[in-house]
Symmetry: C2
Subunit: 457 residues, 2 copies
């Protein structure tokens, strides 16, 4: 069924008050589809849908709603319903929701949560925004190494029902230290009498992170090791939570989006474009636009200092945008590759000289080819338009293009790695800085060559 049809079916059934039929339809539908449809319902309709659903489904739908819809729903439900909702939701979904909604909603939710839940939520809300702690959940299965496989499966059956995942279980000792992990699959396929200790992955194979680790690093680890969930430990290696693959995927997509934003001179934002207001968009953009515009004072001054010669020699000015454009493109090509390589953990600081040497060779070939093509292009244009630009200007332009491509490639591969070395963000430091630097260097090369080679014109 199409999104639109599904939405209309829901509103029709609501209008006709055919609630048992609606309930059946929704119970059989995917919770994500219900959440998508819900965002187009009126608050009154949304409330009715929420109330006819069984608690487990309604809480699941709730966790997929946009913050706006979560807010209007929570504003409409009774305290008792709110209590039941918090009780049913996974802690990490509750925390996600609380991080996005207005403060009065947060206060009301905390007031209705039992004291244990409240203290857990408060702890989670205090983890730094980009930390592993902020995206973990505490609803995991904990086993002991002396359990037999049979006992472990029974234990999972008894306690696993409200856990976020049961497919990877973590093994702890009496002091809650993480000592291993075991897949449900392995518990099913081994002999019933084998112990968890026998079949678990022990410390050497076990991958874990700490609450303060950066969540992008966690995502990187999960990707590298193909993990369905990552255990989170405190400084004494005691298990405090797990991060599940669905949250890891969100972190990956957000990290890629953030890098793209930074590379394109935007302040990163977690909000969806369509839901972001005009002033927030302006705020995210104006900073870099202003910085770069002001830093263009350098290029303006360089040109001003050369104004007489530009006025005297026909054809010099015309190539300025082409030269800065080509230099910028050449630099961007390599910086984007290096930034992405660093983000995915495939390029490190120690690779610098290897990268630089590679780029210089690439640049010489690319720059040479461009210079030759440019010579041809300029002769052709002169032939067609009958212009009067001197051949020596063509040579200066082509030579400048080649040198500026080489400089741009060298800068483009150096900036992200220098940023990484300085523990700055490669995407921020190289995207915006690159543009200005390459412009300046390109103009200096161009005018320098013109000064030397065109003195007698």
């Amino acid at each position: 069924m199409e999104e639109r049809e599904f939405f209309e079916l829901i509103t029709d059934l609501l209008a006709a008050n055919k609630l048992p039929l609606l309930r059946k339809l929704l119970e059989e539908s995917n919770v994500v589809d219900i959440a998508v449809a819900a965002s187009n319902l009126t608050t009154e309709q949304l409330l009715r849908v929420f109330r006819i659903l069984p608690k487990d489904i309604s809480s699941s739908v709730f966790s997929y709603l946009d913050p706006d819809d979560q807010t209007r729903l929570v504003e409409s439900i009774t305290d008792k319903e709110l209590e039941a909702l918090i009780d049913e939701m996974y802690i990490d979904d509750t925390v996600d929701f609380l991080e996005e909604v207005p403060a009065n909603i947060v206060r009301r939710v905390l007031a209705r949560a039992d004291s244990q839940t409240r203290s857990i939520i408060n702890r989670f809300l205090n983890y730094p925004e980009d930390s592993a702690g902020s995206i973990m959940t505490i609803e995991m299965v904990e086993l002991h190494d002396h359990y037999t496989a049979k006992r472990a499966i029974e234990y999972i059956r008894e306690t696993g029902c409200d856990k976020e995942t049961v497919y990877t279980c973590f093994v702890i000792d009496a002091q809650r230290h993480l000592i291993g992990s075991v897949d449900l699959k392995d518990l099913l396929f081994c002999k019933e009498s084998e112990t968890v200790g026998d079949i678990m992955d022990n410390e050497r194979a076990l991958i874990s992170v700490t609450t303060t680790d950066d969540r992008e690093e966690v995502a990187e680890i999960a990707r590298k090791y193909d993990l369905l969930s990552v255990p989170v430990v405190d400084n004494e290696n005691r298990l405090v939570g797990i991060i599940t693959i669905d949250d890891i995927i969100d972190v990956m997509e957000e990290a890629a989006t953030e890098d793209i934003e930074k590379m394109h001179m935007l302040l990163p934002s977690e909000d969806d474009y369509l839901k972001t207001g005009v002033f927030t968009l302006v705020k995210n953009r104006i900073v870099w636009l202003l910085v770069l515009m002001v830093s263009a004072t350098f290029t303006s001054q360089i040109i001003t200092g050369f104004e007489d010669k530009l006025a005297a020699i026909a054809g010099l000015t015309a190539s300025i945008p082409m030269l800065t454009g080509t230099g910028g493109n050449a630099g961007n090509q390599v910086s984007s590759l290096i930034i992405r390589g660093i983000a995915l953990g495939k390029i490190g600081i120690t690779d610098y000289f290897k990268v630089l040497w590679k780029e210089i060779r690439v640049a010489v070939i690319c720059g040479g080819a461009l210079a030759v093509a440019n010579l041809g292009r300029m002769f052709l244009v002169r032939l067609v338009t009958g212009g009067e630009v001197a051949t020596s200007v063509f040579i200066v332009t082509s030579l400048a293009m080649m040198l500026s491509v080489i400089a741009a490639k060298a800068i483009g591969c150096s900036l992200p790695i220098i940023a990484k070395l300085l523990k700055a963000d490669p995407a921020v430091m190289s995207g915006p800085m690159l543009a200005t630097l390459v412009d300046i260097i390109t103009l200096l090369i161009y005018f320098g060559l013109a000064n030397v080679m065109l003195v007698n014109v």
Copy 2:
């Protein structure tokens, strides 16, 4: 243990010929770490490591090796070992490996596979490169709706051992039509006597893809619905395979990388930067550099046509890079957001007018702020350097900046959506095209204003 230490421990144990100890170490280690270490071993060392490992671990390590290392290992092992390896590996890993290695290796592998495996591999190798079929596996658990939960779990225990995942099982009818899916979790938590048909997600909640669907769409669906595996059906809705989350994550990362490459005027490449040769890098870059350089003929011609005025009026030329730079930045900011929004399925063609209206408002504010800042900047520079540029030139420059930012934002949000409408790639069409278009329009605005407003100078 650090990567380096782990590698040295392996080579030390090999040198001392302490094979039982090495075997124990490796058995307790993570297969991904072994694969990373293996790429630095000599072929002779690699072969020894491969041979002392139990078959299930060695085949798992093999699937994580780089194609280069897979090739040199396969070239060294006996036919019998190769046969055992193929037998142990998952089909999708075998196909991944065969897609990357030289043809003689492919021939040898196919010759050693049994006829059924060979025909499956051949079928997989024939799926289009970016299709769902090319990344699926056929090692899934298939249940029937009349099975009780008890019977289903027994069936999984009996047959699931060599399946790629048992956590989501798919339900088929007698004609292999996909009729539902059931999580192992639900089988564990329900009554033993309930049937699979009772507890499965039925067709309405079930998400599936076909073999020819684009794999990026599959990744998008898995992300949206938080799926651990996606069932793949043929045109008659018969189950032919599944795609597991680890492969989906790889597709997501590759898709983001590809978009970044295309936005930065590179031909997309699947190879790691550090492993790509200089000539391949040149080939991936030179195309767009040439196209854009040649298309800069337009900007050159525009400037040439205006050369007399540029020579006559002090201060006009100096602002050209600043204006094209600011326009380019402003356009890039919005196009990158829209391209990413389209890639993540958050912005569609029908949102166009909403986006355009939003961008025009953002552009007026940003452009206005930039124009004012630029006026201030130019006055300040004149004050400090004692230049002789006329105030009217400042006004023309600032006005041109504002208009060019508005044009750049409008073009930047339109190009990706037009590309989507024409079923072209938003990232390719807008990244490279945007730069040239914005340059041209900025210069036309600038010189147009100068012509009208500076006639009497």
